[in-house]
């Protein structure tokens, strides 16, 4: 399977199953387009007509280059991965390496677009006690097999509403790392309201990553991200985020925004983040029911796709000016990215990754919390829902019929199980508008890689 597209002045050809990326001229682009459907004679004759100024020998030479790439396994590589699809999860069955700890099912903001219903996950307000979190960390170590890197997210609601427990849990995990032979990587996701010097010092010392929620322009951010009195939070949080990032010393962070029907022109929000001095950025399309007023409309989706192109151009421009920035979805390491097992195995939710509620229940991921059918068990008694566990173990990109002919399948691995479930009722379904945007992001990300290579960066 190949995918061809033109973007940013480049002709790009992706060989999906080898992972090869080719930047080609117009002649090669057209030859590749007809290579599998026409005979050599037909195709050469067509090209001679289409490119009358190009000598016949040149066209033949280009054709030979394409044949050589095919023979080297860099073009038209057949898809032979289907039998491997379930193997990775089979091999690692029972191994859990990542937990999302819901340390606070409560929030000090009242954002109407929140997938977690203002942090409560459609349930009661609650905070996690230290004993619950401690048991969750023990559970993770016990189930992590030979995995060395263990990931723990402090999530909510707003996790800083339970900051002392977060600090105590990190101290407990650190105390167990050495004897257990593990390396904990912590992440804190916060709305910023409770950031102070103590939080900054702790987060910059202990958190591998911090995810800071900011939607960009003040008027956009304050449209949804308001306190319970209805006051916007932008002016209160931005100086705190700036202080935290300035003190972070180059460690990972993301400014993470959500764009909605209010701001499909989200590149304006990216520009605002840049103006505020932030360079590690992520803006995500809102995920909600189509009838929700914040939902992106089909017209918005078209705007967003244009915006992704504008964003790629902005990144190139800033590269050239020596002021680069990172956009999470445009990070792509073509030479050091994930192996094929990772690419076909799906996201890991419900198998190697689970979410833990404040009272210790386990769910396949944070987005399933509150959906009773998906409860997998709890940290005290272990997993006790083999039916749902089996569904997630069997969920991979080859288990999704709609993914089979999609060129992006080895870049997305089948996408988000929760989005698929909420859109179709099955985790093996697809969230169509999410797929459309994902494909656009990948085209832009790869174009950026091609442009940077061409410009020697």
């Amino acid at each position: 399977m190949i995918h061809q597209y033109k973007l940013g002045g480049y002709n790009i050809v992706l060989d999906i199953c080898s992972g090869a990326v080719h930047a080609v001229d117009d002649l090669a682009y057209d030859l590749i387009a007809g290579f599998e459907s026409k005979t050599k004679e037909q195709l050469l004759a067509d090209m001679a007509q289409r490119y009358p100024t190009v000598p016949a020998e040149e066209i033949k030479s280009c054709y030979a280059q394409i044949e050589a790439l095919r023979d080297e396994g860099q073009l038209f590589t057949p898809d032979t991965f289907a039998p491997m699809a379930g193997k990775f999860k089979e091999k690692s069955a029972g191994v859990i390496k990542a937990l999302c700890l819901h340390v606070a099912h409560t929030c000090n903001l009242n954002c109407s677009y929140c997938f977690a219903s203002q942090g409560k996950y459609h349930g009661d307000r609650a905070v996690m006690r230290f004993e619950v979190g401690k048991r969750a960390l023990d559970f993770l170590i016990e189930h992590s097999g030979k995995r060395r890197n263990l990931e723990v997210d402090f999530f909510g609601g707003e996790p800083l509403m339970n900051f002392q427990v977060v600090k105590d849990l990190v101290a407990y995990a650190r105390s167990r790392e050495k004897e257990a032979g593990k390396n904990f990587r912590f992440t804190l996701t916060t709305n910023g309201m409770l950031i102070d010097d103590d939080v900054i010092d702790f987060a910059n010392r202990e958190m591998s990553n911090v995810v800071l929620s900011l939607d960009g322009r003040k008027e956009i951010h304050d449209r949804y991200r308001v306190d319970y009195a209805g006051n916007g939070s932008w002016e209160r949080i931005v100086p705190k985020f700036q202080k935290l990032v300035a003190a972070r010393g180059g460690k990972n962070y993301y400014m993470r925004g959500t764009f909605t029907h209010q701001n499909p022109d989200f590149v304006q929000d990216i520009r605002q983040m840049l103006d505020l001095g932030f360079t590690e950025l992520s803006m995500e399309p809102v995920v909600c029911a189509p009838e929700d007023p914040s939902a992106l409309t089909p017209a918005d989706i078209e705007i967003v796709k244009q915006q992704y192109e504008e964003l790629a151009e902005l990144m190139l421009q800033r590269d050239r000016e020596g002021r680069p920035f990172t956009f999470y979805h445009y990070m792509i390491d073509l030479s050091g990215g994930p192996c094929i097992y990772k690419r076909i195995s799906g996201c890991g939710s419900g198998t190697e990754y689970m979410a833990v509620t404040p009272w210790g229940d386990l769910y396949p991921c944070h987005q399933f919390v509150g959906e009773e059918r998906f409860k997998l068990g709890d940290i005290w008694n272990g997993l006790d829902n083999p039916e749902v566990q089996g569904e997630f173990a069997a969920c991979n990109v080859y288990a999704k019929p709609e993914c089979q002919d999609c060129w992006a399948k080895l870049y997305c691995s089948g996408g988000c199980a929760a989005n698929a479930y909420h859109a179709t009722g099955a985790i093996t379904g697809i969230y169509e508008s999410g797929c459309e945007l994902f494909r656009k992001r990948m085209e832009c990300a790869i174009m950026l890689a091609v442009a940077r290579a061409a410009e020697g960066r």
Partner: protein
């Protein structure tokens, strides 16, 4: 004349040989939490 420039990429077919160690980041963990993909992740296999 050079009609095709091939970027340096990891060969996915070859990656089957020594892949699947499972040390890499769980897909949307520590990041976006809503729109999952694996293209932007790093391989963490130290035995490659």
């Amino acid at each position: 004349m050079e009609h095709i420039v091939t970027l340096k990429t990891r060969n996915l077919c070859d990656s089957a040989a020594n892949g699947g160690c499972g040390e890499c980041q769980t897909s949307c963990q520590s990041a976006c939490k809503t729109s999952c993909g694996i293209a932007n992740q790093k391989c963490e296999n130290t035995e490659d």
